[in-house]
Symmetry: C2
Subunit: 474 residues, 2 copies
């Protein structure tokens, strides 16, 4: 299959993209992409050091590619985070301020372009298997949408079958395939572990043996909940194994960039919906057929705004003048364990559910995390799925046990600014924002944050939204 | 022109509406609708008792129709209020939680249907002249959109011309014409009064003579600002005069229901974006060719959820089973000065600009207003156009003058509940929510509010949003 640039350019007829040589354009004729998005998964994988959880397929993917140890979502909420992955823009810039589904009803801004738009315009066949969770549909023009999510869908073998069919059907053109799993999201009961699923070995875990992270108290209910979460992660891993088999069987191992990541942290209090480390510090594996070094552990601080630029670089798609994304391509650093100039990430949260307004902005370096809570007088809202979880029920019934290292009171009632020294206080419980010894750090991070918010046109920054609007629409 | 029901029914082919006899179906063959929406206008009209402001055309419309003295928006923000007018549903039920334009980006829920959808399906030609300010476009399928709003568009004669052309072009079918004025919205300078506009006599006002409402301090800057607002109201009135001329000239006086109202209160602090009386207590005139009594003053408490049911009743459109609107038709009470059973209205605010989250719910009876401030720990946000106004600048520079009867402190920092006795305290400054003598009133209104929120599926009421969503999308 040849990726004929002249044909593509001709097909663009006034469109916005032009094709340029990418850094590795010489490698392959087809430059396919498989982007795998796990749902609410923390860095809970064997290859990230969990000695209990069995994830052989993802461990193998890391062995043939690059494992990022300092990869971050920019927001810990499903639709906003997926919108960042799909657009290369922070959610406060792309309009996806909260969840898309049901009454929450948030949408990308009409001017924002997405991966399926970019790649479709560049001649790709675009497919989605599973979960999308972004609106509006018109800005997500996948050629095919397969195995759309539905209640209780945990059938990862079926998803792999659908992916295989998509790949087989679309021989002759490069493809972008996004696979959005429902695992390991919570379900009404036990993370969907209500039965054995076809062609997937059931992996169960002993609650006594799970690792209780620092943001949770060591309670029996929490351990049992984590054991169910682990089972869901193992099912996800099995599904990814079948998906990678499909890629191998269709002879696309050698021409496909594979990216695996999670949208946000595990759905336990103290992780998902927070900008604390366990909310946004997530798994990321990238495996490129162009890699000469394999099994790389990469400590670059990258974030989900870098995903779209990486895929566009791989596909050889350049933005037209005037278009600018917030992130940058990771392809040049794939084989560098500790590249220079990748030492901070920003994060930005608006709301999760529509009634859960809690705008936050964060700057994370290797040493510090600075968080600005823009509506700090409000109580921190608890996502519905977490509120109904056995873990939260147990914590709420015994408020004195707190959230592991953090008190419940501190979790629910936050000051306008937080500053944590991550080397001495990785659980982020000693707020140094008012500490005179950290005044200089605080002021430096405040200044960087102000610059970031201005450059990314943060609507929560006074002066960013037009007062009389375009067309005087107020 | 005959409105052939058989033809319409045949055209519906599986659609949701069926046509039934309405209360006045026998009157006319064509049952046209002109819905006029003013932008940010309070009850500032001659016919409402303002002795200074000249609004001869609207006064004449009231003389031939019904003037409502107790008419209310359910939310004091442009897009949410228009969404209520267009759908017959509260904004917390229809998804339009805040502004639509620019970065604010709020949309109707996909299941919600609008006036142009209902009437188009019933065989109407549908037209919009001027301002829309609701999303998404796909749920607002006007056959024609004319004189779309643009910066500085105050050319009301042009809007009347476009309306005239729409009406003339569409002879042979009943029509729905919505006319959304930009007057008397604020503009960058003096409410758009930067020059004389074609075919409209300029009406200027002496700041010494304007009426300063109770929610504003009597400052020279406020008076000058009000004088400019008055000029904009008079231009609106002149434009409506030209529009009504067009209706008369095209021989549609006798078959057209005319409704005039405003989306929300005047763009001054203490009115627009609040649920206080001056934010939501607004002008409403309905003139029906079926009226036998004219010049009626009607004291029924009605609200903007009643607009769509009234228009559907006029047009003979019934909802399919399963569909339910929050309001009810006003046609049966048009000629009744004080009909029974119209003694309370509800209101509901989410946010104005996206960063101006301040959910409130209100219940207004003839005697009391009860307001629940759901995010009361936050400071009340000031809309951008108000913040940049000469009035607000003058008030902020002299905070001790307050907002007329109300202190600035009380305006910006509100308790979780407010209760006002409107007979003794029409300016709503003495909060009785903690007054033991009003305990019973408070509890009764709380109970009514709880019922209302439950019945209207208020997402801000715990338990209303699905925890695991449809399709597990969280």
């Amino acid at each position: 299959m040849r990726f004929n640039r002249t044909v593509v350019l001709a097909a663009l007829a006034g469109a916005f993209v032009i094709l340029l040589s990418s850094s590795s354009a010489a490698l392959a004729d087809a430059r396919n992409v498989v982007l795998i998005i796990a749902d609410d998964q923390g860095r809970d994988l064997g290859v990230y050091g969990n000695p209990v959880l069995r994830t052989p397929n993802l461990d193998r993917l890391a062995a043939r590619g690059t494992l990022f140890t300092s990869a971050f979502a920019t927001v810990s909420s499903c639709s906003p985070s997926r919108s960042v992955i799909y657009t290369g823009l922070y959610s406060h810039s792309n309009g996806m301020y909260g969840l898309a589904h049901d009454v929450h009803n948030q949408h990308l801004l009409p001017s924002v372009r997405t991966l399926p738009q970019y790649l479709k315009a560049a001649g790709y066949r675009t497919g989605l298997v599973g979960k999308k969770h972004i609106l509006p549909e018109s800005q997500l023009p996948f050629d095919e949408e397969l195995a759309p999510e539905r209640p209780g869908n945990r059938d990862v073998a079926f998803m792999a079958d659908e992916a295989r069919k998509f790949i087989s059907r679309n021989a002759g053109k490069p493809f972008l395939l996004i696979v959005g799993y429902s695992d390991p999201h919570r379900a009404e009961e036990n993370f969907g572990n209500t039965r054995a699923w076809p062609r997937v070995a059931r992996a169960t875990y002993d609650p006594a043996k799970v690792i209780v992270p620092a943001h949770l108290p060591d309670l029996p209910e929490v351990r049992r909940d984590l054991a169910q979460y682990y089972e869901s992660v193992s099912r996800l891993d099995s599904g990814i194994g079948l998906l990678l088999d499909a890629l191998r069987d269709t002879k696309h191992d050698g021409d496909t960039l594979v990216i695996y990541l999670s949208d946000n942290g595990r759905a336990f209090p103290g992780a998902k919906t927070t900008l604390y480390d366990e909310g946004i510090h997530l798994p990321l594996i990238i495996s490129s057929p162009a890699q000469t070094k394999r099994g790389v552990r990469n400590d670059a601080m990258v974030s989900w705004v870098d995903i779209t630029p990486t895929i566009l670089d791989w596909a050889g798609v350049s933005l037209s003048s005037g278009q600018q994304l917030a992130g940058r391509t990771m392809l040049p650093i794939l084989e560098q364990p500790d590249p220079r100039g990748w030492d901070r990430v920003f994060a930005s949260h608006g709301f999760h559910e529509i009634q859960q307004y809690y705008p936050m902005r964060a700057l994370r370096t290797r040493e510090y995390e600075y968080i600005a809570n823009l509506a700090s007088p409000l109580e921190f809202p608890i996502a519905g799925d977490i509120a109904s979880s056995p873990s939260w029920q147990a914590i709420a019934a015994r408020p004195s046990v707190g959230l592991g290292a953090r008190t419940l009171q501190a979790f629910l009632h936050r000051p306008a600014e937080e500053l944590y020294d991550l080397r001495k206080d990785p659980a982020e419980v000693r707020n140094l924002a008012a500490d005179p010894a950290h005044r200089e750090v605080l002021e430096r991070m405040r200044a960087e944050m102000a610059k970031f918010r201005s450059e990314t046109h943060d609507p929560w920054l006074p002066g960013q939204a037009a007062v009389f609007g375009h067309e005087e629409e107020h």
